[in-house]
Symmetry: C2
Subunit: 378 residues, 2 copies
Amino acid sequence: MQRRDFIRRGTLTGLLAGAVGPAARPLAALSSGPAPRRLANGDIRLSSNENPLGISEAARQAVIEAITVANRYPRDQQDALVGQLAAAYGVAPAQIVMGVGSSEVLQMAIQAFAGPRTRLVLADPTYEDAITYQRTHPYEMLKVPLDSDHAHDLGRMREAVGSDGRPAVVYICNPNNPTGGITPSSAVDDWIREARENVFFIVDEAYIEYVDDPAYHTALPWVADRPNVLVVKTFSKVYGMAGLRLGYGIAHPATAARLADFVAKNNTNQLALAAAGACFGDEALIRKSVQVNQDAKAATQGVLDELGLEYLPTQTNFIMHRISGDLGQYRNRMAEAGLLVGRPFPPMLEWNRVSFGLPEDMDRFAETLREFRQKGWV
Amino acid sequence: MQRRDFIRRGTLTGLLAGAVGPAARPLAALSSGPAPRRLANGDIRLSSNENPLGISEAARQAVIEAITVANRYPRDQQDALVGQLAAAYGVAPAQIVMGVGSSEVLQMAIQAFAGPRTRLVLADPTYEDAITYQRTHPYEMLKVPLDSDHAHDLGRMREAVGSDGRPAVVYICNPNNPTGGITPSSAVDDWIREARENVFFIVDEAYIEYVDDPAYHTALPWVADRPNVLVVKTFSKVYGMAGLRLGYGIAHPATAARLADFVAKNNTNQLALAAAGACFGDEALIRKSVQVNQDAKAATQGVLDELGLEYLPTQTNFIMHRISGDLGQYRNRMAEAGLLVGRPFPPMLEWNRVSFGLPEDMDRFAETLREFRQKGWV
């Protein structure tokens, strides 16, 4: 399988199929640079779905080299990265809009498609950014509870969009944050295929590289001839660049241009562009990130099983698990033990989202959770 | 003079007064890191008002150290920089809103104060970002030509705002880009003092550190009790961080909170925050940037005088000068000579804005201009 094919498909299934290709390198040969430090006070942050490995050695070197252009506006370098992304995805550069993280891309979309009595339909719970950004616009927001599989309830979401012809924006986070599971891609495809033109789909694929469920695939092919579909990607997760703030959207050229009306000018950072150019599509990096995540996931699920704490199946770098008692108290107790764990995601206030750190971080999480059990706290 | 006093005053006059203080170091002891390279093809970019010195050595070291947190979201580090800025300016942290360059702060303000039939009043020509960002909002935009001194014509701008009580946003770029001169601060103060509450002032002080005209001072004191004043600052100019995309606005806390409704979440880059923390208020760095700029300015004015080409007095790191003939042709000819010079700023299409590079860059500019004269092109 070619690198481009992997990038287009973008899931672990595709990745592992490609691991025998010429780009494959043994895991042991990889370096991801100096060991990322914990927070200044020694705490371990398991609350923000960050990649504990840090950025790759190639990205690190690229950052250092790019310091010499830190005084220069980034237009040329942004054009170069857009060209690299476009070639990998098999789209035109005019179909890509860069953002300060995927978050700014979501902001552009929410702003660009806002209008009086426009419906915004999303899952409950889901990633909060679309909810945050709609506050300054006259949307009618409709939150639709996840279904019994903790997937997007696409049937009820379709009902929420309605058949009265009013414009709508549909946000689909797939896999979903904070629950971690996928919504079957064929069902998403069915809806996009049948939807009217003024139903605008934002498909957020921030965690796509971690997915190995065969029922999942990217929504990217839709953007070729559907101006009402935006696929959102990020360098914050598998590439470990959350602090460098770089994401992007891929859409029909007309849609990308409309989104760009709402971009902050010169929004990309030279050092982030350099890092991204150096690590995008690096199969060995992705494989290592995914493998370390799998190990941390196994350790985490192990202790949750041991303690009989329910959790949701996850295709991401985090897991949602039941706690006993008050979430605020639980998080405070974890913080006292030096572990920062995920924020409240109403209405799931009897659950906690914990991000996967390094396997040894999860061992400490496991020890802490066992201590909590001994104290009768979970 | 204390460092904080300099930062509050923020102009060269204040800086030089402070040069005898304990923070003063001889120019020769300064290093600003490895020599910034020219563009990849050897061209010299004199078109974007960038600082040719690059970022400081302290900033460079801070960037390299911060690579270990490139995988972490920047909230803690942003809070730290905001605290540092707030202490230096003598304002509360809640009065500061960070942006991806000052440009995103302008975007937030244009979005936050937009409304049907709200007037946007600005100079013609001035920096274009406010014009760009208003396109997606229902402003009535009123461009007021600069006065005969190439300063903002505040009298005509006040007339444009009108006395009918309609809300207005006033953008004052001081010193003005692309013309380079100041608008007397006392006249700006008079207007702010007398303006009604629904006239919102954006005072863009991107070039403040280069100013040595005693008729200039920051508009910052107004933000203490005037919710209708926003002062915009940047790390892109004297600090040489244009490629790291970091700027900020200072306002009344209520205004800052309103602006933050329009911010892209987690918009600041870890490496930019680290660089900014390491160089903000570094008097030696500022003195060197300003001195090199003065030298380049003298060289540039020298050749313009020699060739009898009119130019505008500048208090910035660029200068607007007359050309003979077509601007597009002039820029193409400069580009063929390896010099990228400023874009069109209608209606001043018989003028060109050239940014100050290193003194040797301006020597090459001077040689090129002399060749143009020999060919009868200028």
